[in-house]
Symmetry: C2
Subunit: 262 residues, 2 copies
């Protein structure tokens, strides 16, 4: 069984200077993970044409199944995502009548004319299709290049989320054939370095993702959240495996440290 691999590229100076926390990346990553993708990388870059082009080319070289971008689809001068992608892949940009109709309809409902800036949002890479955006103006954009499916979403979170859902519902071609499942629990009074060998042992046995997230201070008031997660083509199989692993780990912790999970 082959994993479906995804990469996420978020575009916008505000993220890269640290002004805005990249919640878009987390949302996209979690949503893709939940439907069975393995997200390999999340990259945040500036609204710079050269940076966008180079990042797209780098990402294609990694040959994922899906590349999702967010940001840079709007009407302003620094919204350069589609232009940069079009140039990077020698697709160019051309006006897309379906996208133009979507945009025109939204503005005309408010009695607003199509200006140059508004029309800009209808220029898509050659061969691309618009993806409905029910929360804003700029449509999402999807196309395929060298067998990699692309989705470009707007940067405004509610618009990104809406476009992503519409894409998954209607356009997504790579359907991962795995189910992802996770459970987690908390233990107090045991430090991460003490638990390390126990986790190492259980990972060897189960081949699951088992991760201790420190919530307290290692020496002062240790508190750990333990996450157990995995994917499998069979939903029952992965649920059973995670539950068995959790049970065994909880028993080992109780036995070794006298601490019960919460």
């Amino acid at each position: 069984m082959e994993m479906a691999i995804a990469e996420i590229i978020t575009i916008g100076n505000e993220v890269v200077i640290g002004r805005t926390i990249n919640t878009n990346a987390s949302h996209i990553a979690w949503r893709l993970t939940s439907i069975g993708f393995m997200v390999k990388r999340i990259i945040a870059i500036r609204d710079d044409e050269e940076d966008i082009k180079q990042t797209i080319v780098d990402s294609i070289r990694k040959n994922p199944n899906l590349i999702v971008t967010s940001g840079g689809l709007g009407p302003t001068y620094d919204d350069k995502t589609l232009e940069s992608i079009g140039n990077a892949l020698n697709l160019g940009l051309e006006i897309n009548q379906e996208a133009l109709a979507m945009i025109k309809e939204k503005y005309s409902k408010k009695g607003l004319p199509l200006t140059e800036e508004r029309e800009k949002m209808a220029y898509l890479p050659h061969g691309a299709m618009p993806v409905r955006n029910d929360e804003g103006i700029a449509p999402g954009v999807t196309f395929e290049y060298k067998g990699i499916q692309f989705l470009c979403t707007p940067g405004v979170p509610r618009e990104m989320e809406n476009v992503l859902e519409n894409f998954i519902l209607t356009h997504l071609k790579v359907k991962p054939n795995v189910f992802y499942y996770e459970e987690s629990f908390t233990i107090k009074g045991v430090g991460e370095s003490s638990l390390a060998s126990v986790i190492k042992e259980i990972v060897k046995k189960y081949n699951l993702y088992v991760k201790s997230h420190p919530k307290g201070r290692e020496l002062l008031d240790p508190e750990l959240e333990i996450q157990i997660a995995g994917s499998s083509p069979s939903r029952d199989k992965i649920v059973d495996l995670v539950k068995s692993c959790r049970k065994e780990l909880e028993e080992k912790i109780k036995e070794k440290f006298g601490v019960s999970p919460q």
Copy 2:
């Protein structure tokens, strides 16, 4: 004047699956920006040795002045940052006596012995130095490779922040010779697409970073935060320039839309 360029690499499955929002990346990015660095890329990857090695090699090819990593310095089996970097750069890992002394002291104060997992945190790439961590056990790590300064910080946010500050204070060799300054203001009742041409014009004149951040909905209740930012070798010059740009932009907005900034 040459910009000092930085790249940020955060390592940890929890971020890449979207479970944890990458606040570490934002903190590092903002702190580096505030002292004059231009952060070009932020990359989040999994706790996977091959991924870490490839990312480090990719990042070195971009030839930044500084690469900051976070995550993967702890005592657990999946903390692979230093081992992966050591292997990627053919530096290997060796026990560092200064790091070992730091770790030993912290555990011995609590009457805890040095186990294999705890000692692991003292193995640094050849030629590296530990950076004090006043908030946890694993020291930060700094070294130079092909003229690029590296800083590896732990993944726990308060430890990362502490190590970053200690690094800036004591170890940072690339001192950017620019000052960064920004101001922002809010306007209501003007959509992003309406303001786009005004911003385009002012950017041409001032060559500053001027960005409209949509806070409301473009058509329903438009509200924009306008950020004006820039860097210069002269603090006075950049403050004056940002203030002039802001004044002119506010006047133009008032003139064109009858809206006063807030």
